[in-house]
Symmetry: C2
């Protein structure tokens, strides 16, 4: 594949410098690159990384419960996870993606939305972020899961049980765990 010459004086790189970027392969959801870089100590070498779409996760709060999706993930087995998924090219914004994913997976829409920022799931391997939202008191409509979600079940889990599920490993998606803990902390401070 083509190699690209990249500027080595990019101020956003801080103590790093980039000398060359080589795309290794591209798929619709994952592109891999090898960059030749100067490390912060002045030595040089390759830095391999992947571009994957940004993601969204939503803490949807309905009558004191939080909506939790249970499904069998191809790579990681059965997991509890907050509703969410990848930001698609057709989504106008991460918030639009979050509203679409919540509606597709759970049927819930609208309510009062607020941002809880964004996290880097694997900052050494990808610049992708997971954008986090809270949706208070959304309204129920029919769901429309994707083919990979045909086995998806939606649970209404009391917030205290969701916090226990982070501790005992039922919720082991990193962004879901962080979002449940953040919402739990908000609820406690608001009480």
């Amino acid at each position: 594949m083509d190699e690209q010459q990249a500027g080595s004086q990019d101020p956003e790189l801080g103590p790093w410098a980039r000398h060359r970027r080589t795309p290794l392969y591209a798929t619709p959801r994952l592109t891999a690159y090898r960059d030749e870089v100067t490390f912060p100590d002045g030595s040089t070498g390759p830095y391999n990384w992947v571009q994957v779409p940004d993601q969204v996760r939503i803490a949807a709060l309905v009558d004191g419960a939080i909506l939790v999706c249970e499904q069998h993930h191809y790579l990681t087995g059965v997991m509890w996870q907050l509703p969410g998924g990848a930001v698609d090219p057709a989504d106008a914004s991460p918030e639009a993606a979050a509203r679409r994913e919540l509606a597709e997976e759970t049927g819930y829409r609208d309510g009062a939305w607020s941002s809880l920022g964004a996290l880097h799931p694997l900052p050494g391997a990808t610049p992708a972020r997971v954008h986090l939202w809270a949706a208070h008191a959304p309204d129920p409509y029919p769901a429309s899961p994707e083919p990979v979600e045909a086995d998806l079940k939606v649970h209404h889990v009391p917030l205290d049980e969701a916090l226990s599920a982070v501790r005992d490993g039922r919720i082991r998606c990193a962004a879901s765990a962080a979002l449940v803990l953040a919402v739990g902390r908000q609820a406690q401070q608001g009480a």
Copy 2:
């Protein structure tokens, strides 16, 4: 590269089936695959994913403060992150990797260690996990950062400020955020 025939009746795959696995390329820290699968709804298609090393993150608690590493990451810019890194092939276990990383990055060793489980940072793209630990009252020794960490600074951050740093986005590594929130919850419940 070689294609591998994989059994399609793997019970761990639940409602999924795998028909073929094709390695796309391999580097020391990242291997990419394309699997041909049957999705939970019965349709078929490709599933692209990557294997990266498991990681570790440590909440090291010293005199009411938590140790936070600040460095300029190549892909994501300046970040606050809890000490940690990849599990190396030479590490006897994730806990051994955590003890090694904490000592390399901060100089702190020993103390009272406890597991806080493991999270999947990107369960749709990789089966890798981040193993989480708390280290209470470790002892200080000289640090020995790696070449990519030459700019690494270690801060002793009061736990309340670390919790604020999750909220305001200074701590935006997903596993670090989840671990700070979990330790903050433990501290509050123990108080």
